[in-house]
Structure formats: structure tokens, C-alpha cells
């Protein structure tokens, strides 16, 4: 490493001026070499930003479930009884269990009972409106707070309405738009043709993104076609049996609650409480298959691990593209060295040491890679707007293709990871040094006499 002895020359502005001048002799060639590094550096920043965006999105969805919550879902076991609905077995979380958890576990702040059934919703006041399939959710007044629903107009279910089992409901924003395109939904009656029931609308919610899918028991929850009614009303008017008629056959299921959401007083107690909840629910049967206990807090931890893996993977891809860029530099510099054999001979004859020659070529490769690095960083900063416009362009020009894009990619916004910028820059400099060393060494080892004779 003779050039290390020459560090003072390395920091002389003239050395760099000279290097840039030599590169400027072949602008096209230099530009293409820079492009290689540009792509490498930009892809480091891009891939990390996109990875970060996706994992942040996943994390947000999990956080929407509530880190301090424990969710118990009812799962319908595989049908064994045949079509006879007189023998339908009840499954899932029971009201008694709900009460037991609420009463016996001290770290529990509150427990929400939730019962969901699929229903068809209609508005009879406007004959042009087709009925819409959606989810009828029986819940309590605290549901809005715990699941972070926000009311845009009117109000959410009130305790008094729960207590008296009123026929009132709160509807999701999307449903409201579809059923009441030109009317004020408040105080209108929603009709459930399957149950022949009317519910008066007392509130409309803000639009809301879907939450994370949780392991097997819960598909990604889509809140767009929800109607919320008091759980007491649901029990009175609909019972525990849900009968579906598909074509000529019936299917029936019987469950008391489809979910209970347990809010724990402090996040630190979540794990312990989850154990207690499991023990309570599994007291009668350890191999109980009709419920699933989901702890978003644990999912969050998993998501963090996944994120780390993701970053590593993205980093690896980016590293490969940087190496490709580096090989580009090496290739060009080897060509340059051969082409400039004569110049090397002259410089050696005029007193240039081997280390001076090494330095000269290293300065050129470092210049190339640093320029590539800087341009790459600038390109990297354009990640978010580019992704945004690319998405908009796909949406306008290829709507079918857009529809097939996964949801994550649709709403994800890339987030530039701050450390990726200095790291990308340092790597680009290192690539310049590493891939420049061999050509520079080749140049320095030339015999000056031979080099001078070279045509």
C-alpha cells in the first residue's frame, strides 16, 4: 500500500483536479461508469426505504389492533353434524366466560363483547339503491374507543342505548356513501331484509384502513361495510343461531360471541394476562379448538424481527448492485490504464513514483464512485415522490393491473432510513478504492521504458 506514504499528495487539490480532468477527457465513458454506481447507491436507499415503508405499514396495522389488547376470536370448528340444524353445536367464546374474565383477572381494564354476523343492508327510502352485503357488529359503547373508530357525524352507541337494547345503529363511511348518495343518513332507517328489522342511524364513522390479518382466526378486517348495533339488541332480535341459506341448503352455526377484546391496564401486563386468559378459557378443555387467542403485542415483536430480516435481505440485493457498479469501474479503469500506458511512462520518466501512479488512478476511481454516490443519494431522496407518481400512473393507465397489486403496496409510502445515506456514501467510496486498487497497481507495475515506447 505504497500510496499511503503519499497521503499528503492525496489531499492536494491538484491531484484531484488532475483526476477530474482526465475523466473529463471521456465524458460518455465516465458518465456510464458513474451510472453504475448511481444505480447501486440509489438502490441501497430505495430498497431500504421501501422495506421500511412496508414494515411500518405492517406495524401500524398491528398497532391499530392495540398493543395493550388481547383478542379472543371464536372459530367455527369443522362441520361434523351434517345438515341437521337442530343438532347444531354451539362454539366459541361464551358470555359466561366473558363475565368470568371481566370479574376475575385483576390486570384487566375492561372486556368488550363483540358479535359479528354477515347481513344484507338496504335502504327502502330510495328505490335505486341495491342492498349491500356487510357485517353487522353487535358491540358496546366502549368499542369505538378500543378499536379506534371515530365518529364523523352524530354519535356512537350510548350506554343507555345498550342497556335498553335500542334499535339504533352507527354505520361505516363507505356504506353511508353507497346507501345514501344524496341524502343525510342520520335518523334514516336501515332495513335488514333477512331479519326483517329496522335500525335507526345515529352516527356515521370516519373512513378507516383495514387492520392486520391475525393468525388464522381473523382475516384482515375490512371496516368499510360495517354497521354497529348494541349487542343487547342483537341478542334479543337475532339470538345465538345464525342460519344461512345458500341455494337449496341451509347451514347453521350457533355462537354466543364472535370476539372478546380484553384491554389490559398496562402493556407490561399483556403477556401475563394473556396466559391467565388462556388458562381461564382452556380450564375445561386444554385442546379447545374453537377459540384463538391473539396478542397484538407479540405480533408486534414478531413484526420487528421480520423487519430486520427484510432490511437484511434488501441490503443484500443493494450490495449486489453496488458490486456490479464496482466491477464496471474496474473494467473501465483497466481499459483506461492500457490506453494511457504512454502517459504512465511519461509520468514515471519525469519522476513519478509507483505510489504516485497508484494514487493518480485511485483518485480517478474514487472520483467516479463518489460522484456516483452523491448522484445516487439525490436519486434516493426522490424515492417517495417516484413511488407515488408511479402508483398514480398505474392507477390511471392500467386499472386492472393496479387492482391486482397487494394492498400493502397500494398504501405503502417509502420511508428513507436516515442511516442509509451515510452508509451508501461510504460504501460507494469503498467500492471506488477496492475496485480501483487492482487497475492502479497494474499501472504502477509497468516498466517505464516499455510504457514510453508504447504507441
Amino acid at each position: 500500500m505504497g500510496f499511503l506514504r503519499n497521503l499528503s499528495a492525496f489531499f492536494r487539490p491538484r491531484t484531484w483536479k488532475l483526476g477530474l480532468k482526465s475523466l473529463w477527457l471521456h465524458p460518455m465513458r465516465s458518465a456510464l461508469t458513474v451510472l453504475g454506481i448511481f444505480i447501486g447507491v440509489a438502490s441501497v436507499i430505495w430498497l431500504l426505504a421501501i422495506g421500511e415503508g412496508i414494515s411500518k405499514e405492517a406495524q401500524r396495522r398491528i398497532e391499530d389492533l392495540g398493543a395493550e389488547n388481547i383478542i379472543v376470536r371464536s372459530i367455527k370448528p369443522p362441520d361434523t353434524s351434517g345438515g341437521n340444524f337442530r343438532q347444531v353445536d354451539a362454539f366459541g367464546v361464551q358470555r359466561s366466560e366473558f363475565e368470568m374474565i371481566e370479574r376475575t383477572i385483576p390486570t384487566v381494564e375492561r372486556v368488550l363483547p363483540i358479535r359479528e354476523i354477515t347481513q344484507r343492508f338496504a335502504y327502502t327510502g330510495n328505490p335505486n339503491i341495491q342492498p349491500i352485503d356487510g357485517r353487522l357488529v353487535g358491540c358496546t359503547d366502549e368499542y369505538a374507543e378500543v378499536t379506534r373508530l371515530f365518529v364523523a357525524r352524530g354519535h356512537f352507541l350510548q350506554p343507555i342505548e345498550i342497556e335498553r337494547a335500542k334499535s339504533v345503529c352507527v354505520i361505516a363511511a363507505n356504506l353511508s356513501e353507497k346507501l345514501f348518495p344524496s341524502e343525510d343518513p342520520l335518523n334514516k332507517q336501515i332495513y335488514l331484509p333477512e331479519k326483517k328489522e329496522y335500525f335507526r342511524i345515529i352516527g356515521v364513522l370516519h373512513p378507516r384502513n383495514a387492520t392486520a390479518a391475525i393468525g388464522g382466526s381473523l382475516a384482515a378486517q375490512d371496516f368499510s361495510n360495517d354497521i354497529y348495533i348494541p349487542i343487547t339488541t342483537m341478542r334479543q332480535k337475532m339470538g345465538d343461531m345464525e342460519v344461512k341459506r345458500t341455494g337449496g341448503s341451509f347451514s347453521a352455526k350457533s355462537f354466543e360471541l364472535s370476539q372478546i377484546t380484553i384491554q389490559v391496564k398496562s402493556v407490561d401486563d399483556v403477556r401475563r394476562t394473556a396466559e391467565l386468559v388462556k388458562a381461564t378459557l382452556m380450564a375445561s378443555n386444554v385442546n379447545r379448538q374453537d377459540i384463538a387467542v391473539v396478542v397484538p403485542y407479540e405480533l408486534l415483536e414478531q413484526a420487528r424481527m421480520t423487519r430486520l430480516m427484510f432490511m437484511l435481505f434488501m441490503g443484500l440485493i443493494a450490495a449486489i448492485s453496488l458490486i456490479v457498479g464496482g466491477i464496471g469501474i474496474m473494467n473501465i479503469m483497466l481499459a483506461t490504464v492500457t490506453e494511457r500506458t504512454r502517459e504512465i511512462g511519461i509520468r514515471r520518466a519525469l519522476g513519478g513514483k509507483r505510489s504516485d501512479i497508484v494514487l493518480q488512478f485511485l483518485v480517478e476511481t474514487i472520483s467516479l464512485s463518489v460522484v456516483g454516490g452523491i448522484v445516487g443519494i439525490i436519486g434516493g431522496l426522490f424515492c417517495s415522490p417516484t413511488v407515488y407518481y408511479a402508483r398514480e400512473a398505474i392507477k390511471t393507465f392500467a386499472p386492472t393491473m393496479y387492482a391486482s397489486i397487494p394492498d400493502d403496496a397500494k398504501i405503502m409510502t417509502p420511508e428513507i432510513v436516515p442511516f442509509s445515506i451515510p452508509v451508501a456514501f461510504c460504501i460507494s467510496v469503498m467500492v471506488g478504492v477496492f475496485f480501483g486498487l487492482y487497475p492502479a497497481y497494474r499501472a504502477a507495475q509497468m516498466d517505464p521504458i516499455e510504457a514510453l515506447r508504447h504507441e
Binding site: 488532475l18 509520468r347 513514483k353
Partner: protein
């Protein structure tokens, strides 16, 4: 650098630019050993103007490479000032080239991406003596060889004669012990050759030592002394009897003509 242990002739009071003693150079090829130089000895006093001549294969180029410190002899010594160059390593030789020898090549060998002044400065760059004063000195040298108005030109924008004058200015910038000219007029027409030879004479008159390798008798006739090589040995080493010397008037005319030519 090692102190000189070889006896430098002291009989003469004249200082020596270079002392060559029994210089041998052998090339070891696969099947045979080529003895390119078989013991060459001579002195070059300061202010001398030597032409080295010889047919191809005579060891002329080998001697040139050794004199230029581009190569090391197999045997013998080459004393520059007080140092035996024959014993030096690559970096030391580089330093000697940068500080004590002024090269003028047949094909000018300017660096294409540098301007006239920057080309002149290259040897200083490698000895780390680049500063404002050295820049001024480079400009003075460029002016001296008649290129004061083309300081920012690139070699490709200059004629052959102009390029060779830049090369001569470059060879002077480090104040060398001697100028080593390798067929310096080989690529030039007769008018320009005269121009360059007149410049060499002027420099020699000012006290510069010049060693010139050539195969043209007319060119060698301008030197004070001719060394003829044959088969790796000195055949003749003699003073030039009827030396061609430009009179001051001739030098005037030549430089006037050169100026005129450039303006056209």
C-alpha cells in the same frame, strides 16, 4: 542515498555533471544473455554538450535508459553529483529523475490533458515543490522558449516544434544536472530542427549540460563532443572539430522566423 565511494577524477578542477564508470548491462533472456553494454566509461563535465551516436544494436538506447535513470546497470557505477545511481531502488531513482534529469523525447511526450504551464510543472509536482513561485518560474520558462502567449493551450493545439519547446522548458524546470535529449529533432522538419538546435545551443551557452542521442551527423555536428558506440563499447570519444555554431545573428533570424511562422 549512499555516499560516493568511487573515486571521482579530481585532477580536473571542473565539476562533473555525470561520471560513468565501467557500465555494463546484460539482459537475461530465456536461452541467452544479451550483453548490451560491455563496460562504458566517460565523464560529462558541467557545461558540456555531448552527442551519443551509434548504429542500432550498438547499446545506444540501453545507455540512454541508464543515463536517464530509467534502468539500473548490471555492473558499474553512474555518479550523479555525489550519489551512485546504480545502487538505488525504484523510488529513489524516481526522485533522481524528478530532480536531476531533464528529459526531451523524440515524440515530445507531453501529457494531453494538461496545459502548457501544467506540463512544464510536472517534474516539480513529483518532488512536491509546487507553489506560486514555481508557477512563476514555469511561466518564465514558457516565455523563454517562445510560448509565453500560449500558456493555457493544450498539446494538441500546438505544432511539433512548439510541443518540443514545451518539452525543453519542462526539462529545465527542475534545474537538472543535464538535459537528456533522445532524438529530440527526429520528428521535426529541417527548419524546426534548426530552431530546436539553436535553442539547445543557447541553453548550452548559458551553461547547461546537454547529452543528446542522435543518429544524424548534421545534428551531432552541433555538439561539442561526440561519443560513438559500437557493440556495447565506446568506439570513439572525441571533440567535434568543425562544430556548427549558430552566430547570434542566425539565432535572431531563426527565432524571428519561428515567430512569424506561428502568427501565420
Amino acid at each position: 542515498m549512499k555516499p560516493n565511494i568511487i573515486d571521482v577524477p579530481t585532477a580536473s578542477t571542473q565539476r562533473m555533471a555525470a561520471v560513468i564508470r565501467d557500465l555494463k548491462k546484460h539482459y537475461f533472456l530465456k536461452s541467452e544473455t544479451v550483453r548490451a553494454l560491455r563496460g562504458v566509461s566517460f565523464d560529462v563535465p558541467e557545461g558540456d554538450y555531448v552527442a551519443i551516436m551509434g548504429p542500432s544494436g550498438s547499446g545506444k538506447s540501453t545507455l540512454l535508459n541508464l543515463l536517464g535513470c530509467l534502468d539500473r546497470p548490471t555492473f558499474g557505477s553512474f555518479i550523479l553529483g555525489t550519489d551512485d545511481v546504480a545502487q538505488m531502488n525504484d523510488d529513489e531513482l524516481s526522485y533522481i529523475r524528478a530532480s536531476r534529469i531533464g528529459f526531451v523525447f523524440q515524440s515530445y511526450n507531453l501529457i494531453a490533458q494538461l496545459s502548457v504551464v501544467e506540463n512544464i510543472e510536472v517534474p516539480l509536482y513529483y518532488t512536491g515543490r509546487l507553489n506560486a513561485q514555481s508557477r512563476q518560474r514555469s511561466v518564465e520558462l514558457a516565455t523563454m522558449v517562445g510560448l509565453g502567449e500560449r500558456l493555457d493551450h493544450r498539446p494538441t493545439q500546438l505544432s511539433g516544434g512548439q510541443q518540443q519547446r514545451v518539452a525543453i522548458a519542462r526539462s529545465l524546470v527542475n534545474d537538472p544536472y543535464f538535459i537528456l535529449a533522445d532524438e529530440a529533432t527526429g520528428n521535426l522538419d529541417s527548419v524546426t530542427t534548426e530552431e530546436i538546435l539553436a535553442l539547445f545551443q543557447r541553453l548550452n551557452d548559458e551553461g547547461r549540460t546537454i547529452i543528446m542521442v542522435t543518429h544524424e551527423d548534421e545534428v551531432a555536428a552541433h555538439a561539442k563532443r561526440v561519443i560513438r558506440l559500437k557493440d556495447g563499447q565506446i568506439q570513439v570519444d572525441e571533440r567535434v572539430k568543425d562544430r556548427c555554431v549558430f552566430t547570434p545573428e542566425q539565432i535572431e533570424t531563426i527565432s524571428a522566423n519561428a515567430k512569424q511562422k506561428e502568427q501565420v
